[in-house]
């Protein structure tokens, strides 16, 4: 750490021109893909091409302008990369919708485009309102309370709705919101603020066991509480994904804050223990494990609840795509249930192939690593933790859902960030990106020049 600080960091350039170019490229790739779908499926460029292009391009130009004005030093890569993933998601949803196949009635690229617009508005509002991310530190406990409330809100009678066996939705009339998506950001803010305040205490060594310094028993409180909340989400809402997402992110942030490997080990032990217990008690957790171990088994394939049919259809889709994919509009990705939301990654794999998925994963990895780079460059512990936590949250979410649909790990329902159809997640993730952009702006801004000698004062202009 000290070594890092000693090296003089060259002042970063704003790179606004490069960002605009890359943004145009991201919109261009999306347009190209959109035309591709229309040509393959109907033999002509889609009628809505212009509206669509102007829509997405306009939103992104607006986002760019707000960013250039209110966060001029921000990382130039994050926005174009997110735009690209968002755009590809829109194209896949459009393609699924166009198939008019059974079970795809829920797919609506128009809705998703509108939601993207709202997401960009929230992105802009966040950047405009939140001029200094450190202001969030003062809201630590408010954020914690809001996060917790959002998390448990689906359990409130009359407000919560059960969809597909999970109670993770709240409804106002026809509109439904998945509050856990917003809760996760509030909770990362809370974790960051809380851990900055308590990290010295939490880092205190207790007893030494073998080569690990255990924390003191009395400091286990926060971990146990988070663990209990995560288990609560799992048990009461049957939402494996959010539970795992929340707990994993907390452990990663705890590790960043305290630099204690023992916390990671304790976290893993608690998680494994909790998962094992849940597996013993709850059929649906048990079912996910069975399916993970042998998804092809006919008995699991035919099982109505907690069966492997959807997973297998996803794998069939990816297998059909092979190395180069069938080409947009030329495969049968709509055969996968929820191919436009939870399983959009499999659908993409069928039509864009291994090549497309590798590129997509690379784009996600780049977003995450840019976020973590921001964390490294940040000047205060809260910003470091916030940027690190948000980046890890994104990586962890991609890992859980993509690992799930490719059967690397047991499948737990989560949205694929920026791609899956669904307003709540898209809005939450655009806020997350706004926070990353805000922190990167702070981190990359040249520090105020110390006035050494009034007589030699010079005015630098960049």
């Amino acid at each position: 750490m000290s070594e890092m600080a000693a090296t003089p960091v060259p002042l970063p350039a704003k790179r606004r021109g490069a960002q605009l170019l890359m943004l145009a490229l991201a919109v261009g790739i999306t347009m190209f893909a959109y035309a591709n779908v229309g040509l393959a499926m109907n033999g002509k460029v889609p009628a809505g091409m212009l509206t669509y292009g102007l829509g997405l391009g306009g939103f992104m130009l607006a986002a760019y302008l707000v960013l250039a004005k209110f966060a001029p030093w921000a990382d130039p890569l994050i926005l174009p990369l997110v735009t690209l993933v968002n755009g590809i998601g829109l194209v896949i949803i459009y393609r699924i919708e166009e198939s008019h196949a059974r079970g795809t009635a829920g797919a609506s690229a128009t809705n998703q485009l509108i939601m993207t617009g709202v997401g960009v508005v929230l992105f802009a509002v966040t950047l405009i309102v939140l001029r200094d991310q450190r202001a969030l530190q003062r809201l630590t406990y408010t954020a914690g309370f809001v996060g917790l409330f959002l998390l448990i809100s689906p359990l409130i009678p009359g407000l919560g709705k059960t969809v597909n066996g999970s109670r993770i939705w709240i409804g106002f009339g026809p509109a439904t919101i998945q509050p856990a998506e917003l809760a996760k950001i509030a909770l990362v803010v809370f974790f960051a603020g809380y851990l900055v305040a308590k990290r010295d205490v939490l880092a205190l060594a207790g007893r030494r066991l073998l080569f690990i310094d255990l924390p003191r028993a009395r400091d286990l409180g926060p971990v146990l509480i988070t663990w209990a909340v995560s288990l609560g989400v799992l048990v009461l809402q049957k939402d494996l994904g959010s539970s795992l997402l929340l707990f994993g992110t907390f452990i990663a942030m705890l590790y960043i804050a305290t630099q204690r490997t023992s916390w990671v080990l304790i976290g893993i032990l608690l998680f494994v223990g909790g998962a094992f217990l849940a597996g013993q008690i709850f059929d649906h957790v048990q079912a996910r494990f069975e399916v993970w171990l042998d998804p092809g088994r006919q008995e699991f394939f035919d099982r109505e609840l907690g069966g492997s049919a959807q997973l297998m259809q996803g794998l069939f889709a990816m297998g059909a795509g092979g190395i180069l994919g069938t080409g947009l509009g030329q495969g049968h990705p709509y055969l996968v249930p929820l191919s436009f939301s939870d399983f959009i990654f499999s659908a993409t794999g069928e039509e864009l192939g291994l090549t497309g998925l590798m590129a997509l994963l690379m784009v996600y990895a780049l977003i995450v690593e840019r976020g973590l780079r921001t964390s490294l460059a940040a000047r205060d512990p809260f910003t470091k933790l916030l940027a690190g936590g948000l980046s890890f949250l994104l990586a962890w979410q991609v890992f859980i859902i993509v690992g799930g649909v490719t059967n690397l790990i047991p499948l737990t329902g989560l949205v694929t960030p920026f791609m899956s159809q669904g307003g709540s997640a898209l809005l939450a993730n655009w806020i997350l990106v706004a926070l990353l952009v805000r922190t990167s702006d702070a981190a990359r801004q040249p520090p105020p020049q110390a006035i050494q000698n009034e007589g030699l004062t010079q005015v630098f202009q960049r």
């Binding site: 750490m1 092809g296 055969l335 291994l354 973590l372 470091k384 690190g388 690992g403």
Partner: protein, 487 residues
């Protein structure tokens, strides 16, 4: 905190690396296993992803074609213009199987044949979707229609095959009862399979192509073969050679004797060969068979193509003269009874062989195969199958068969202005059903354009005398011959 952030960065990279390795595993290593999985519907949809070629008759009449749909699952569905009429020729194209030409020429129709490699390569460059090759059949639509209508008018089950005796081209092939191939070519699996089960269990066996897939005792039509063997055995024999024609032929080693049809007398006990054929007497031919012996009879049958593995391209059930037994059995087999079993196609080939101066041509259905752009892939190449009898013998047989139509049992097959050669048959069946009515013929006798065989199952009407096959089957044959000749 930077050191831990860096470690988290490495951990994140490791997670993405794991995902990438796993995606490679799924899409490159396991892909084949997934695509072979029975539960993967893509294989099913793949059947409908390519525009299958057309099946046509006579170069223009479309029997089957693929129509583009709006559905993304089933891009092209199969249509049959006159389904029932051509069902046993075109076959069907069901979700999991196919029959007839649809099955036999599947690789060309769906464009996957290596013969279409060049076309596919060109399509790849020009960006055109691959289409299957078009298959044109030798079927004469008018003859087919005449055969189908005439046979159906009899109200019985049966089959008819008509050949061009000079080339072996199949001009008509009908089997009744028929089915609608459209019902078996739908994309709704459960509906198709349910319909298939009904058809498969139907006692009248509508799915069976009787023309090539069923053997029957040929009855008196087989006397033509016995006569051929008799004439071949000694060049000096001819239509007027006198043969023994007792009222009953004692069968050696048994207590029974072979009567003529209805127990009637055949002339004065000694008749010319041509008279025996005209009146379709049993005793002379039973006696000839015993006189020639099993080996010579079987050899003559084989010379007409029996025992040969034939694909038209659909494979043809083998006909069989029957095993070597005692003299009594040989006498019965020589008049087309006992274990003697022939397909209608085999009987048509016998007529065609005699018509074509003794040379049997290999029967075939496919006239021409062209790729989607009309370039020829394959043209029919008529081939000799065997030399059944010498041209002299063929001439004598022809003379006698003409006489059968003009003076004998087959007068209902006469066509004004055209010399028709034919032979009737009434085949007893082992069970207690009425006998089958047969007729084989060719015309015009001096320059044959068509040779055919028709069988009407249990179709022999009770009209007395020997005229049963002639009564039911010969008029059907006449209508088909007229359809071909009166162009």
């Amino acid at each position: 905190m930077n050191s831990t952030v860096k470690r988290i960065a490495v951990a994140c990279l490791a997670m993405f690396a794991l995902l990438m390795v796993n995606v490679n595993y799924v899409q490159a290593v396991k892909a084949d296993k997934y695509s072979e999985d029975q539960r993967n519907l893509r294989n099913f949809y793949e059947r409908y992803a390519v525009q299958r070629g057309r099946i046509t008759a006579g170069g223009k009449e479309i029997l089957a074609q693929s129509r583009e749909t709006d559905s993304s699952e089933f891009r092209f569905v199969r249509q049959y213009t006159d389904g029932k009429l051509y069902a046993h020729i075109t076959g069907f194209f069901s979700p999991e199987s196919a029959a007839g030409i649809e099955a036999a020429e599947n690789k060309l129709l769906d464009g996957s044949s290596s013969d279409l490699l060049l076309r596919r390569s060109i399509d790849l460059f020009t960006g055109e979707p691959t289409k299957g090759a078009n298959v044109d059949l030798t079927i004469n639509p008018r003859a087919q229609k005449a055969a189908y209508d005439a046979l159906r008018a009899s109200g019985k089950r049966g089959a008819l095959v008509a050949l061009n005796p000079k080339t072996g081209a199949i001009l008509a092939m009908v089997s009744l009862p028929s089915y609608d191939p459209a019902e078996l070519s739908g994309t709704d699996k459960s509906k198709v399979f349910a319909r298939y089960d009904v058809l498969a269990k139907d006692k009248s066996q509508p799915l069976l192509n009787r023309a090539i897939g069923q053997t029957y005792p040929p009855g008196s039509t087989f006397k033509v073969v016995t006569a051929a063997a008799y004439l071949e055995d000694d060049d000096s024999r001819g239509p007027n050679t006198t043969v023994e024609a007792p009222q009953r032929l004692p069968l050696p080693g048994t207590t029974i004797s072979l009567p003529n049809y209805g127990g009637a007398a055949c002339g004065a006990g000694q008749v010319p060969l041509v008279f025996a054929l005209e009146k379709s007497c049993n005793t002379p031919f039973g006696s000839i068979g015993m006189q020639l012996g099993y080996a010579k009879m079987k050899e003559q049958t084989e010379k007409f193509g029996m025992g040969e593995q034939i694909g038209v391209p659909m494979s043809v059930t083998q006909s069989d003269f029957g095993p070597e037994e005692d003299k009594a059995a040989l006498a019965m087999a020589s008049i087309g009874q006992r274990s003697n079993r022939m397909t209608p196609l085999q009987m048509a080939m016998i007529a065609a062989g005699i018509a074509n101066n003794g040379t049997v041509m290999k029967p075939y259905l496919v006239n021409k195969i062209t790729d989607s752009k009309g370039d020829s892939i394959e043209d029919a190449d008529p081939q000799e199958l065997s030399e059944a009898v010498s041209p002299e013998t063929a001439g004598k047989l022809r003379e006698m068969m003409v006489s059968v139509v003009n003076n004998g049992t087959a007068n209902l097959a006469q066509i004004p202005g055209v010399q028709v050669a034919g032979k009737t048959g009434t085949a007893e069946t082992s069970d207690n059903r009425p006998p089958h009515a047969w007729f084989i013929s060719f015309a015009p006798a001096d320059d044959p354009q068509i040779a055919l065989a028709v069988i009407v199952e249990s179709g022999a009407a009770n009209v007395g005398a020997e005229a049963t096959g002639g009564h039911t089957a010969a008029p059907i044959a006449k209508q088909v011959m007229e359809a071909v000749l009166k162009n």
